[in-house]
Subunit: 404 residues, 3 copies
């Protein structure tokens, strides 16, 4: 296909070729999501392996009308769900899968979910992603705050993206950027928009999220964010380990106290285990960057989750090492806050405020650590950040959950 | 149309011709529900009367996007609603209609219903079917159980079917089978799937439901099922009668006590009657099969509802003989349970458990009894099952509803 | 285009040409809303300025699948939202806009709103229209009544219209009438239908709503209606004024008491003002017609809202003169009732009953007052209705909100 023909073809699909990049509108007010694909071959780009981006729509059941964007960067395959807060459904490199097997098999259209159902746990009817955005009005367990039932982990994961665009750099390394805007708006209540951004480069085993929360309103507003990043096998297994530069760790609740001594190692699938959660305050480098790692028992395979602590100062380690069928999964969760209901987090100083027109940026990097060398390098980076500084292991939860 | 041409045509529609049957996928993850029809003529099948199956989509109002499958077996016309739990909207033979006239005129897309609204009675905003599936996590009146508001009659009727397939036997009697899968899933809460099946044969005045509930989870789970089968005129009228082999009958509540003496006969449309409900424990034959009948005053027209008591051991008779406009209707409701909130049914032993990976089958047969002969034959069958065994008429409800 | 060709073309679009009018079905059970337009040129109609009616569908975010009908009468442009209760999203004449800037920027599909969320304030997630229908089972602030949570301002604004038709008179002044039916139905609870009607004439700066509520049920039912008509700049500004023939005015609550002396004048955008509301009982003429006016400080630009007090006997003036970003807006709200929860309005006699099969008509006229002459004429009409009759200024609210 000649460049000229290309432009003609893309024009019909809402694309525009700028000086330095190809830009495509995948979804907008006047543009329905429709089957579509662009490939490196079509763009006339030569990379080691061809890459592509595909838009498709799911049908049937509670996934009727859900849009999915599949990004294959040649090495890493990613699926992003515009209809569900631009969540990252799954990622894989070859047969190594980042993500987990939730009992929820459908990619559920928020139209079919009542977040206020199940006592505020309706969110659980759609939860199955690798990265589930939580926020931005609130995060945490359901419960009353200021006379209102806050539903589990806020609304973000159940807000369909308003405008979805794809941007591919025209020069090496041909970075692929998928953007989608979430509007979290209610008269008198909230006027947030979130410009989500996912970036990956052809051939790499990493992707990054760069989200920008804007308070469009005229008043300062409380907000919270938490990136619920969920992994299972082959990373998670008996003897798998979690590593991070830790300033403070504490058990989320009384149950987690019991396993505190082993908080950095994992059990195999364990009947009736349910979950334990540990609240972590990480150390970071001078720029505020920090790194966390989950790796298998042998230390030969892992994932790293890096984030900037200037806006994501705390971290929850969710160890849901119950049976495979119940959901054998661990969550690495950078956040403004822990997973308590918002009313418990105010006294902890973990309910920040965003000023009118202010922007807050949340940056998280995800990498596959494909071999021992990669795992060791990441662990070394953690050591460097820890730099011999002390870790406080709190024996008791930060919050007395017996108090309302 | 030659067989060859047929295959070509059907191929484009997702059909596949097997040795002994025609199979069609009407709806699946990668296949949207679209206008479609297959007829016995197209299949080259000769039956006494031609049959057909048609897929259509409703628009406007709260029925936007609702799929309906119309099965005309040549004698009996059935409408099934994939978008609403594969419920049977209505059935008719000539101008004899099985079903009723609900004030709810739309076939409501669950996307527009809040089951948690109206104090857990949101279900009433979509209730208008001949057969409404109730379950499978729970059935019964709304109320708190284990700290959660259980909404009226569970979620099944408001779960869109995930995959819908049509199967037509290639040899006489050319049985027509429509299947649709419901997923009832929530992380940590439930992992059920229900393979629904509706079968009818060309020319017959009967259809059967054969549903299979599977607990995909790793833990035993409580479940409940109730098949809310609703009839009105011409079966229901003043002096119409209900018959069944009855081991025990009891009034649902204090109101039903008053009419207990006449529990098997019906009033005409009665202002301010609202409803009375009777809890029935039926006798069954050696295989567990039992039969219930509703017939008009003259005994010249009726319907029978047969079911297997191994999984559906109890039965509710719902007598909503209020005015036509309010909904003049009676429900013949085989179930695992009565219609009390789940918390009341545990002590009655009516909240069964399904083991991990276990299947539970629910089989219900519906027949039009088109004349006195058919009615008498069904009543005789009931007599045979009763076989002179005693009926206990309990004067008081099984449950003290004044207790929380 | 010749008339003959026109008919052929329109035929494919569901149009029918009657003797005296053109009629089009825009949306119905068997007709999806699809891009469509009709223009005066196509109809062969000569008016001073050409007129047109356009149907479009919005995509992306929570507005996925929302239908909008744009009526351009040559002078006045109107947008009506079938998917949201046939609400009038906005209207404009040249660059004079009737309507306001809500923080809610999307035209939200009710499928994505939980009215029961936010303690019954879920309605606020979609509120951004010029005219938002409130009712018809109830209006008012959320709260319990008869054991049920009544959500803010009822369901009407979040009921998608069932059947939408366009009617254009074939003779001058070629009145354009858009109709859409809302079904508000729940078994045992309510069986209302509302035939909404919006009428405008080519070249005029006015439009009228003529809604007919029908109780299809067999029992008398309580109902309430309120037409939440919302305006901002250029009408609303510091020193802007409200005028009406007032029999009684009272502050809605304690907060409104403070500004009672200035209840008919407006502040500019005022930080932390939130809102004050005044309850007005208007005088009307012998036919029951009354008129209310909002005009700018100079009295050179305004809007009038006229209505018939036989069915809309009271009026709320909502003064939400907070900042522009928070929503600088005033509501002129004719109603059966004020904005209290229904339980407070029964003792005030403001919860009327509609008999079985009875119809209630609600007629509201909206006019742009484009210059001082038009404003003065409207104010004079108000004087004529007031006719020197006394205004009771109640110092205290009609309702003691401290009582449950």
């Amino acid at each position: 296909m000649t460049p000229l023909k290309l432009l003609v073809t893309l024009g019909a699909l809402g694309a525009a070729s700028h000086a330095m990049a190809w830009d495509y509108v995948l979804l907008d007010t006047d543009k329905a999501a429709q089957p579509w694909q662009i490939t490196s071959q079509q763009l006339g780009v030569k990379t080691d392996k061809p890459f592509s981006v595909t838009l498709r729509t799911l049908h049937g059941g509670r996934q009727e009308g859900v849009s999915v964007v599949d990004i294959d960067n040649g090495t890493l395959k990613l699926s992003v769900v515009p209809t569900r807060g631009m969540n990252v459904l799954q990622a894989s490199v070859g047969d190594v899968r980042m993500g987990w097997d939730s009992p929820v098999k459908e990619v559920v259209n928020p139209a079919f979910i009542e977040l206020n159902g199940r006592g505020g746990l309706g969110w659980l009817e759609g939860f199955n992603e690798l990265v589930t955005r939580c926020g931005y009005e609130w995060v945490g367990h359901p419960g009353m705050d200021n006379g209102e039932l806050l539903t589990l982990h806020g609304r973000a994961a159940n807000i369909p993206a308003n405008k979805v665009t794809l941007h591919i750099d025209e020069k090496p390394p041909y970075a692929i950027t998928l953007r989608g805007e979430l509007k979290e708006q209610a008269f008198k209540k909230v006027d947030f928009s979130v410009q989500t951004e996912l970036v990956t480069e052809p051939g790499s085993v990493t992707f990054a999220l760069n989200d920008t929360l804007t308070n469009n309103g005229d008043y300062p507003k409380e907000y919270q964010a938490l990136y619920h990043s969920n992994f299972s096998t082959p990373f998670l297994e008996q003897g798998a380990r979690f590593a991070a530069p830790v300033k403070q760790v504490s058990p989320f609740n009384d149950k987690a106290k019991g396993d505190l001594a082993d908080w950095q190692t994992y059990r195999g699938p364990t009947k009736d285990y349910d979950e334990t959660v540990y609240n972590v305050v990480p150390y970071a480098d001078a720029k505020g960057d920090t790194l966390t790692v989950l790796h298998n028992k042998a230390g030969s395979l892992g994932v790293s989750v890096g984030f900037n602590t200037s806006t994501l100062p705390v971290f929850s380690l969710w160890k849901n090492t119950d049976t495979q069928g119940q959901g054998y999964v661990t969550g690495l969760e950078p956040g403004t806050s822990f997973s308590y209901n918002r009313r418990y987090q105010r006294p902890l100083g973990l309910v920040p405020t965003i000023a009118p027109k202010e922007h807050k940026q949340f940056q998280i990097h995800y990498s596959l650590l494909a071999d021992k060398g990669a795992v060791d390098k990441a662990l070394k980076r953690i050591d460097t950040i820890q730099n011999g500084q002390k870790t406080e292991v709190r024996q008791t939860p930060l919050v007395d959950l017996s108090k309302p």
